[in-house]
Symmetry: D2
Subunit: 156 residues, 4 copies
């Protein structure tokens, strides 16, 4: 689903990463584990680097790390689609299904915005262990979008 | 809803913490942020210590940290109810609603198991900033329980 | 949780039922199966009359009927709390867990609004077979609220 | 995603419809509103005929009708994949997002099983007004599968 990483995408990815570094420096406080691989109109692909911090016994990835990957990836897709205005979007709901035991390797999240309204965005996230076709986890997330007709940035 | 911490509960809490330390030492790899405050028949109360690692701009708690609190608290309530057998339970679904901006302080999760079947447990989690009555977040989680008639510990 | 049915509530219940009859006459097209039993600040109790139309083999109630009960009950709680303005609220998400086989009798839904923001309301619904204490089903619903600063009634 | 309706599929569809008619005659008590259009390995497409019974003001389709479509379609995909054994599967969770106002016409549901374990099946459902590309609603459903090693048909 995501478009191939073209020069334009690369610039956009760099700009998004700069925005995020500026606003959420603590995302990387434990090391840079997320990298944006592709973005497109209403979609994104994000990689979560395999990292000891997120481990569970048996070397698999924790649910909490997969939640973080899903949440971050949707946020990236919203900013990729709405531009800088999207940075004030906030998660209101995230429903995650854990489908299979993840492999002890990088995870890839593919996001698709299935609704982009004036006030809410809804996204679907498919998560796979790198190089595998079966889903490891699946999430649906809702973000409240910043209102454009007000200065207020309070969530809805 | 949770019962008061009696002598019996205290012992049980200590035993649960010992079990968890033994099986999931990495939970505390970043410091001991969770503490079990109360357990009872089908319920539990868990505190998440306020900690720089989980912060978002403005000093609030990250969604990922709240996911981790909800997930861990349900796990505690299952072990408190089923005993050591519960340790092989695995999360299959977690649906979380973020309702209000958390305060920059400890968070308290109150868990209630609303279904305890042979194969699945379903739990509700209410999360509040310490000392506040309004909910900050609410979660519903499903765990697959280990089958008793098999040696296999694979998830359902 | 709902308040007792006082004279004031009774009047409010009658007013809500009149509003609903006016706006959604088709709710009762198959016979009057829902009745509002109690309303209060941010909560409501609704009864679903046992009715052949909603049956499944073995005499139990269909999932679709329970979905309808949950959705309607939350709508009632929103109107009870916001007044006539609430009538333009629309469901954006409903997550329902089926916990036990319902008895072949009336079902009672208890609703509690756990968030009432400017743009979104989130509610929890507990459903029981009449006279039973165990939950048959549990739902979390989100409604988009009509914006007050616009004439537009489009969903967010 | 569903395979094209071939002769083999047509036979299978007829067999599934016969099974459902036998076990759930009340599905069609208000007229035959569901028809199975396509089935395949782990997927299905089901049409819900536009019908006055399911209407809301403005001619749109009710949330309850869309819930019923999602639930039924997943059930069809499970039976198509597991065969007659699937008929004892029961819904344990259904999470539905309403994304856009449906048109007053038939609705099409496309189901994909994203997990088929020994004990649980998880499915994704995309719902569209006939002939439209945008999603009207999206659902994730979990079914408990009948245990093969027991006669018991109790849900997990």
């Amino acid at each position: 689903m995501p478009t191939h990483g073209s020069m334009t995408d690369s610039l956009d990815i760099a700009r998004i990463e700069a925005l995020l570094d500026d606003r959420f420096p603590q995302i990387h406080s434990g090391g840079r584990i997320f990298s944006i691989e592709e973005i497109g109109e209403r979609n994104a692909r994000v990689r979560m680097r395999h990292h000891e911090r997120m481990l569970r016994p048996g070397g698999t990835v924790s649910g909490s790390a997969m939640f973080g990957l899903a949440d971050f990836s949707v946020y990236v897709a919203i900013i990729a689609t709405l531009g800088e205005a999207g940075i004030d979007a906030v998660t209101t709901n995230l429903n995650i299904n854990f489908l299979a035991k993840p492999e002890p390797r990088d995870m890839i999240a593919d996001v698709r915005l299935i609704r982009l309204g004036r006030r809410l965005a809804v996204a679907e996230v498919e998560m796979r262990s790198e190089g595998m076709s079966d889903l490891v986890a699946h999430a649906i997330a809702t973000y409240a979008l910043p209102t454009r007709d007000r200065q207020s940035q309070r969530a809805c």
